[in-house]
Symmetry: C2
DNA sequence: TATCTTTGTGACTGTTTAGTCAGTCACTAA
DNA sequence: TTAGTGACTGACTAAACAGTCACAAAGATA
């Protein structure tokens, strides 16, 4: 499985640099020091490679979030985890995060089972619903709150990659960004 | 130039439905009732067609914003125009707006001269800078405010297309969304 | 050692695609 | 009547590409 992971790593790098369609499978294999056939030994189609990569990365990000919010019960801390962890994770894994952004805005997303997508959204949505019900969050449709938080994350990430700064400064921006979004949705 | 516009319209429809790479030039020409050669008579490459379409649509959107804020001087009203007009415009031109979103997140964006992109961003940024300087807006990097407004627009648009509602309800959401973002950035 | 399975090769193929080009045709104007 | 123009055609080409396949090594198992 060493080679398989190596193919995933190489594909990731090339996809982010040249895009999905700008990266032929032959190039991925060659760059990974393997033959074209080997790629199709591990992944039956190119699409499968792309979606595998997404599932893989998304899984790692989710794991990071889960580790961060483990044991937490307060709505604020939970939302904080869901908001801040991906951004901090993105600082350490910029290529991976870029890939997920690119993927989310591509037609590939539709190839993914709705179930897979849902499994990442649902837990967070449940927390938001509870927050609204308990009066911690404003009486706004939880799905709208979800969209707001998501969009905010997207904004901050965009800003961070366009304006490189020290890790300390970046951390500060993320912290400030959370206060902003929290004030926006909390009662 | 009738045929050229017709090609642009057809391409727009197909690109939004099938994506850039999922739409062969031959299909665009056929769907437009023209021959393959005609497409290349008007647009020297496929890329030129795609970017033309973007410039075209972006121009129309900018015109709508300009019409809305004409004569305005108050920072709040200007920002309101920059935020609300694209969203209302998107309600009436969903396909066009979807196209710009898709385009903005694709590698095609890099093909566009930085100048072209800048020309849309700069005027708004200037207003934000003035707002910060005059103490109307919070002391946050105007570029960050820009990112926040942009992300907020993106969020609301996403929510609106995922949750169809009456025009009245949609308008209400946009109005509310503006109060939210205004409270977020204003002193 | 013999046999089976996994891992790997790289030349090959069938298809799809952007882009070309020689030529048609309706029209204009000298 | 003739010459010229420019929109428009569609069969064609050259390249690129995803995916296949017959064939090996390398490793495991017996």
């Amino acid at each position: 499985m060493d080679k398989k992971q190596h193919l995933l790593d190489t594909a990731l790098k090339l996809f982010v640099e040249f895009g999905f369609h700008g990266t032929p499978t032959a190039k991925i294999a060659k760059e990974a020091g393997l033959s074209s056939g080997t790629l199709f030994y591990f992944f039956s189609t190119k699409d499968e490679l792309v979606t595998s990569l997404y599932v893989d990365i998304k899984g790692k990000m989710t794991a990071a979030i889960m580790a961060d919010i483990e044991g937490e019960t307060s709505i604020k801390r939970l939302i904080e985890g869901y908001f801040k962890t991906p951004l901090f994770w993105a600082l350490n894994n910029p290529i991976e995060f870029s890939f997920t952004v690119q993927f989310s805005n591509s037609p590939y997303l539709n190839q993914l089972a709705a179930k897979e997508i849902d499994s990442h959204i649902k837990p967070f949505l449940t927390i938001l619903k509870r927050g609204v019900k308990e009066g911690v969050l404003k009486k706004i449709d939880p799905e709208l709150i979800f969209a707001l938080v998501r969009g905010h994350t997207f904004s901050i990430h965009q800003y961070l990659i366009e304006h490189p700064a020290s890790l300390k400064k970046q951390s500060q921006i993320i912290e400030t960004a959370f206060s902003i979004i929290w004030d926006m949705i909390a009662v």
